[in-house]
Amino acid sequence: MKILIIEDNERVAGFLIKGLREAGHTTEHADNGRDGMYLAAGEKYDAVIMDRMLPGGIDGLTIIATLRSTGNKVPILILSALSDVDDRILGLKSGGDDYLAKPFAFGELLARLDALLRRSQDAMADNLLVLDDLALDRRSHKVTRGGKPLNLQTREFKLLEYLMRHANQVVTRTMLLENLWDYNFDPQSNVIDVHISKLRQKIDAGTSRPLLKTIRNAGYMLTSEQ
């Protein structure tokens, strides 16, 4: 995938370029708002990583607003040191698709970027989600593993649904918090881990091929790959 990075901090940009290339993406980089605007408007990218405060007289939100006003729907991940709730809301309102505050973990950024990249291909209307021998029916609220019905509570069902929608993608704890509970704060305990381990007991217990995996320093992934 071709990613545009608009970031004025050289070290952060270099770190992003290196990390994204290792993850198999191609990148282009602009270190000021003017160049960023020029590239984003002129070329076709699969996603844009956008800093908010940029030199060159044009800030990130202005670029986003301009792109959106011309009908450009490229997924945009805002990366900013402005981390207040209001800043986040403003960023998403002006047309950003996701908002990540600095300092950030690269695993978190990669997971969110993946989610953005696949959003366009996502068939939201699918009522039957299948991964390997795990199947989830959204209409009847039934989950089966190898044909055997599993008894999930509502929240466990929602959690599994989210993981299946993002199958083969890393899903971070904050993504789960934001998308499933609407909490944008860090709960002091490892609550998410406990939720995951309960879900894991239900879907993976007694099978030789566990599907729900923990990705170190990042989060979780539901995948059939061993």
Binding site: V85, P103, R155, N184, F185, D186, P187, S189, V194
Partner: protein, 477 residues
Amino acid sequence: MPHHQMHGSGSFRARLVRLFPRWFRNQLLASLLLNCAALAAFCLPLWYAWNNQIEEGRTDLILADARRLAADFRARGVDTLATRIHDRVGSNLNDTQQVIQLLAPDGARVAGNLPYVPPGAYQPNTGYAFRIEQQGRTKILSMALAELPGGYHLWVGRDTTRYVALERIFILGMGGSALIVFLFSAITAARTRRTMLNRVQAIDRTTAAIVGGDLSQRLHPAHADEEFDMLTGTLNGMLDQIVNLIQNVRHASNAIAHDLRTPLTELRSSLEHLSITRPPPEPTFDAIDHTIADVDRVIAIFNAIMRLAEIDSGTRRAGFKAFDLGRLIGEAVEFYAPVAEEAGIGLNHLGADGLMVRGDPLLVAQAIGNLIDNALKYAGSGSTIRIGASRDAGQVIIGVADNGPGIAPPYRDKVAERFFRLDQSRASPGAGLGLALVQAVAHLHGGALLLSDNGPGLRAAFMLKADSAELTPPEAA
């Protein structure tokens, strides 16, 4: 330069202003106006009585006199009346208080002591005041005209010149009273000013010392003037608050420094260790993972501080909206339920369905989360946590109670302070900002956090001010 020319008058003006500051002049003016009003209220009726009653009475007397003389004239003729007039008043105005003048139809004087009639048209039976100049002296006469048969005119009256002096005395008296009043006002104002000045200077000296850094200074109440004691009390309260704040800042800075220094120290030494020992790749990566965890701790503390600052600034109030508190609590309980189950702690939601609250749902959720989290951390296995909410007299109380070991009374007020951690909690993760956040959120919503004994255990009451007028359920969405 004009500045130069103005200097002299400017300094004089400045001195005048210093001697008679604006408030002093205002007070003086006010007191003067008040006293003059009182004086006028006293004198004006007197003046009115004088003018109306006495003047009118005099006119009546004069008219009666005129009627008597007219009767004489009709009965005995003009000569008899002329003689009688001459007998009574002679021909000189200075001789007597009475003034009488009989005029022939052609206007010639027949008898009497009025030197002349000032020009003008006169009606009979009406009182007039004449100002007569005679031998260099001014006479004020009160006169009335009577018409006699045969075209004769008769002027009868009194010399009221001496009353002019009385009037003058009256006015002088009033002016004198006004002057005395003015003097008293000035003296009182000056005395008040000096007293106030002394008090203000005392306050000024103390506050200057405090500004200079001596925070132990306090103002002393005078016990004499209540207003100043009120002010003194307020100022002392303010000073206590400032000292409190400074101590808090100092305490918080120390705590931040301590809480950040610990992970930073660990971070630094592990990195240094790696750099010196150059271990093989595997242990190196393990060590790096540890250092990342250290950095994450620093970031978490930092985020918590930023969140507190954001709440304290009050900007989040702009985004207040009505939300279902019962549902919010239900979701929080559901969120923490697996953790409670794993820790062997009961988590009971007492239910508060449809309890609408106006506020920031995200912050309230975080606050409730922190309270549950705290209870889960410290209540201990086998205990039970109960969570409920109720509306009571203008406020909504969210209660989170456990039956664990609780907090000893002396520490109950302390635990909500920023970065305060009980010794037994030092080992568990967190920065000592959990309850501080709950308290800040409560303050943002016009409420408070109250910790009490649950006998046994801890009961945290998280209160929000509820203005019920705005608490209509939102449209079904």
